[in-house]
Symmetry: C2
Subunit: 331 residues, 2 copies
Amino acid sequence: MKTIRNKFVLLAIAIAGLTTAYAQDPLPSWNDTASKKAIVAFVAKVTKEGSPDFVPAAERIATFDNDGTLWCEQPMYFQLLFALDRVKALAPQHPEWKTKEPFASLLKGDVKGALAGGEPAIAKIVMVTHAGMTTAEFEKIVSDWIATAKHPKFKRPYTECIYQPMVELLAYLRANGFKTFIVSGGGIEFMRPWTEKVYGIPPEQVVGSSIKTKYEIRDGKPVLMRLPEINFIDDKAGKPVGINQHIGRRPIAAFGNSTGDQQMLEWTQAGDGARFMLLVHHDDAAREYEYGAEGKIGVFTPALMDLATKSGWTVVSMKNDWKTVFAFENK
Amino acid sequence: MKTIRNKFVLLAIAIAGLTTAYAQDPLPSWNDTASKKAIVAFVAKVTKEGSPDFVPAAERIATFDNDGTLWCEQPMYFQLLFALDRVKALAPQHPEWKTKEPFASLLKGDVKGALAGGEPAIAKIVMVTHAGMTTAEFEKIVSDWIATAKHPKFKRPYTECIYQPMVELLAYLRANGFKTFIVSGGGIEFMRPWTEKVYGIPPEQVVGSSIKTKYEIRDGKPVLMRLPEINFIDDKAGKPVGINQHIGRRPIAAFGNSTGDQQMLEWTQAGDGARFMLLVHHDDAAREYEYGAEGKIGVFTPALMDLATKSGWTVVSMKNDWKTVFAFENK
């Protein structure tokens, strides 16, 4: 009787142990490689009271780039795909676009031709699709688009083209007292309508590029009109500026994937105490995209790779470090 | 024996009742007038699940002006007093100021003469005292000043010249799931070094006016240099712009004291569902200041009073609605 009871006790302990081990892996979509180990070790040391690396919860600020870090950015930035869809939707109200670049090429289906005009062409497309309405109207346009549009390759809503390991990482950091922010070159008002639902990041924790807005009374009601004028570009050296302006504290952890994130990681690293910097390397042609060294947006240059090595930044190989890239793979 | 025990029980219940009543008044520095009742009624209805006015916690955004709403703004904005002190401290490095306005008047102790040049004079003073250093250097300058400088009338540190009823209100709202923000015309970097300690408002929940900053590498280390160029004025019609840019959600409650807050209150009120707007009226010459109708900073014009009445905004009479103005009164 006693032996049987002991066996039950041992079995119970074993089951409890298994359950705990399972419940304790907060990053199940990460392979058990050096990247995951580095993340877990960092979180352990900054959250352990009495540790020399301990950081009070209020200062556990983690910033994440969005395009290419939290969600896919190929075949081009999703916000640009949004803008192209908007040009098509608005074309009937703009007969002049038939002979005016970059709109003429675009409406003929020649995206490459339309974008051949470079930054000024993109700026024209962005301004006609992002300005000239109230903030509330723009929010509705974005919400409607994101609810219906699908990624050309994955045939899934864009909000499903998010990296499952990074979604787990966001939740893991928050469970450890971190406040998670998006710090993206993308438009702040393009992200806010869906980041809370998709990433658990509320609007007030989204930092991004913006156009100017103006407070007006329209039909007796106050509105904020979106003006065709750049307010702030939250990219490259703009990221530390945006972080300081918006958050007012230096992050202790920063996550990016491209040269656009370099300064954010440098700024993060230059603070006192324990720091964690990570770059996602897109080397997975089978499950996502393989960028190669040059010539694509969100480029991960050899110089950036050298800097990451020299600086002790964690470089995630999507191919080797991630068990799952997109949650829909497992469906 | 039984009777005695019963008496003890009754006494214990009575004491418990008193303790509970005391513990349950989260606004002890407020008199039991209509203003306090309106605040409590608003919080009750937006936090009661199932109520038609219920607001989910994530959307319980409350914005507070700072100067004249959370802390005193007389005899002039404290940030201006800071700037004047800085001019004196920097004068030895600037011999040319002896003959250059507004500095010459200022250094002779003629503050009124120095400020006679109006906005341009103030801008000159602000730029030489607020720009030309890194963000870290400026933070240290502000922290040192706020730790030592004293209010000319109250002979107390400026961080004690805060309105105790408003400090209680901030805590009361947070205890009810609200996220509290400062939305001030004052400098964002002037407030952030002390708002967490003084008001419980972390840097990332401070919105304010700002100058431009630039990311640079200095002696091999990244810094943000403060440039002598205005970035954003968070006042009047700028407040809804700043709120949208920074918070990305419309507040459901807004607190101010002057014409500089009018648009913030209008923007707050124009949202759907239950709303609460409050203005602090400085009518207490004995304990703080009595502004009168016109001619002072932070002016509460008759037009603003009319608007408040017409719009159903709560107007706090410091004299009648506040039992205590400053915590130091009770010491």
